[in-house]
Subunit: 340 residues, 2 copies
């Protein structure tokens, strides 16, 4: 197994080291190729994602990414030309983000609601395509547009993947999240696709929620969700709220999948590079570690993946919320437990 590693910027570097430590503990001998991509390289050389690197990365089995972004680079440049470019070039059409409240983890909602759902966020279209433009820039008559592009091809494949997942789960519930009452063109395509694909999955109960209603449900009745399928932008928004109610962004893992395996999938914590705490042994590496579990699962190493998840679950149940330990300490604790 050949793994491309892109620690990236800020705490991305800190948490990736620990994620690899746990990987080595649970599955020794994975070959890792490190890529120096992110703010430092950009500032040094002007390069963001050279074609040669992209070409090389295509040959690997998977990519582990830390986080991208630094205040010394204009906002959006690295996000778009590195992170989003990887997702688009490698056709990561399923951005999978589990939302699970582990026992013992404090949620801002208080109590211990049963939260255990997965979001299938479309990863290669919608408002993320970069379509749009600016007319009469910086004049009183400026017009700026953003075009959300949605294709039957793109919507159908993520919807089908979400239905397959729903079919495999106990509750077998799928909720389409959109804003069909306003965005009637894209909304129509999404709704018709869910209706059509749903007919092939008669055991799955299908539901629809407007994205604004999801805001309310996620803080009042998060247990109602099982599998959510949604577009790229709504998925971005909904998964951060989901992470927040599941104890915070320090625990939220994600997978950028090409389920057809025509290119390597990419695994990354949902959190950003948090430059304010970078290199200070403060970041929680748990989200990165759980992203390794998603990776192993995708690569057919179900046992190793389950081992990591159970080790994390045990650790979270025992953690002192006031004093969970530093980045390295948590990583070493998880690695030791995973090796045992």
């Amino acid at each position: 197994m050949k793994l491309g590693v892109i620690p990236g910027d800020g705490i991305g570097i800190d948490v990736t080291a620990e994620a690899l430590r746990v990987l080595d503990a649970v599955l020794p001998g994975v070959e890792k190729i490190d890529y120096d991509l992110g703010a430092a390289r950009y500032l040094r050389t002007g390069e963001i994602l050279p074609d040669s690197v992209l070409h090389e990365v295509r040959g690997h089995d998977a990519i582990l990414l830390g986080a991208i972004g630094d205040p010394s680079v204009p906002p959006g440049v690295l996000e778009r030309d590195l992170l989003l470019r990887l997702r688009f070039e490698l056709d990561h059409y399923v951005n999978l983000r589990p939302a699970k409240l582990y026992p013992g983890v404090a949620t801002p909602l208080g109590g211990a609601p049963e939260i255990d759902f997965v979001v299938y966020r479309e990863g290669t279209e919608g408002p993320y395509t970069g379509n749009g433009g600016v007319l009469r820039r910086a004049t009183p008559n400026e017009v700026a547009t953003e075009v959300s592009v949605n294709t039957a091809f793109g919507v159908e494949r993520v919807v089908r993947a979400a239905f397959r997942k729903a079919q495999s789960r106990e509750k077998k519930r799928l909720t389409l999240v959109h804003k069909t009452n306003v965005l009637k063109f894209a909304g129509g395509l999404w709704q018709r696709t869910v209706d059509a694909v749903g007919a092939e999955f008669p055991e799955v109960t299908v539901d629809y929620n407007h994205v604004d209603a999801v805001m309310i449900h996620l803080v009042t009745h998060p247990e109602r969700y099982d599998v959510i399928v949604t577009d790229n932008l709504f998925g971005d928004i909904v998964t951060d709220l989901a992470a927040a109610v599941c104890g915070g962004i320090g625990l939220a893992a994600s997978a950028n999948l090409n389920p057809d395996r025509q290119s390597p999938s990419m695994f990354e914590p949902v959190h950003g590079s948090a430059p304010d705490i970078a290199g200070q042994d403060k970041a929680d590496p748990t989200a990165a570690v759980l992203s390794v579990a998603l990776m192993l699962d995708h690569l057919g190493e179900a046992e190793a993946a389950a081992k990591i998840e159970s080790v994390v679950r045990d650790d979270l149940a025992k953690r002192d919320p006031e004093n969970p330990g530093g980045t390295r300490e948590i990583g070493e604790r998880l690695a030791a437990a995973a090796a045992a």
Copy 2:
């Protein structure tokens, strides 16, 4: 003062009756013209918003709206051709939504965080313009687009209104909410506009948050916000989460303002028509009542507005959360207190 009243559908009818009861108690003698618009009229006559009605309504001082939408009408039809059409035709470019956690109100977050901010949601552009289209509908090659249209004219006027508001408040903080790292065309216009207008308001502290980060902050540190300015769709999403953390959609008021007074402004609770509980004396009319307070404030009746807010505040502090009373009982209680 001449008030156009559109109770609309479902619980819109229930709560509007109580909102008017409180209005009469605090400011007797307002002339009211009732409009039969919504699902019932549409199903009876096929009409949604006849031009003659729109023309008449333009002549009033303000509009009070209950809620729009019914399962017997295809989703989106009434929302777009009645509610959104009113907002667009009457040029309601500020959709103002206060988020305040009143003493004694239970928040799903637990505890009693200090939440007191206002959202200035743009109301006449963005992804709500209906721009976009469908190509090769219902074929495997379908392409559906949605175009977010943002103009310097449209962005500047809502940003300026938000800065004026921030300037008048104690904390004098303004946060732009967008997704500039992905939506670079629209994001650029919004960010440059905030920078330029901000230069005229040196006392206001300006901040920026990505919409996904707001999801986290609103459930962990909602007290950080004072005035939020954002686009039509992000505003829709953020204000429902804000309502949820402030005790629920039953308390969230909103104003669709034309601050230049070239057309009547429109006041409505944030909640929908909730057909499942319509006509059952179950809906909380408080959001509609608070919308009347926003209306009176806009119309220069600051004292009457303050009276309603203080009566609501007192009532909320004393309410039994398990048994707040029915729609009518709450309305009568508030009206009696307002008349005293």
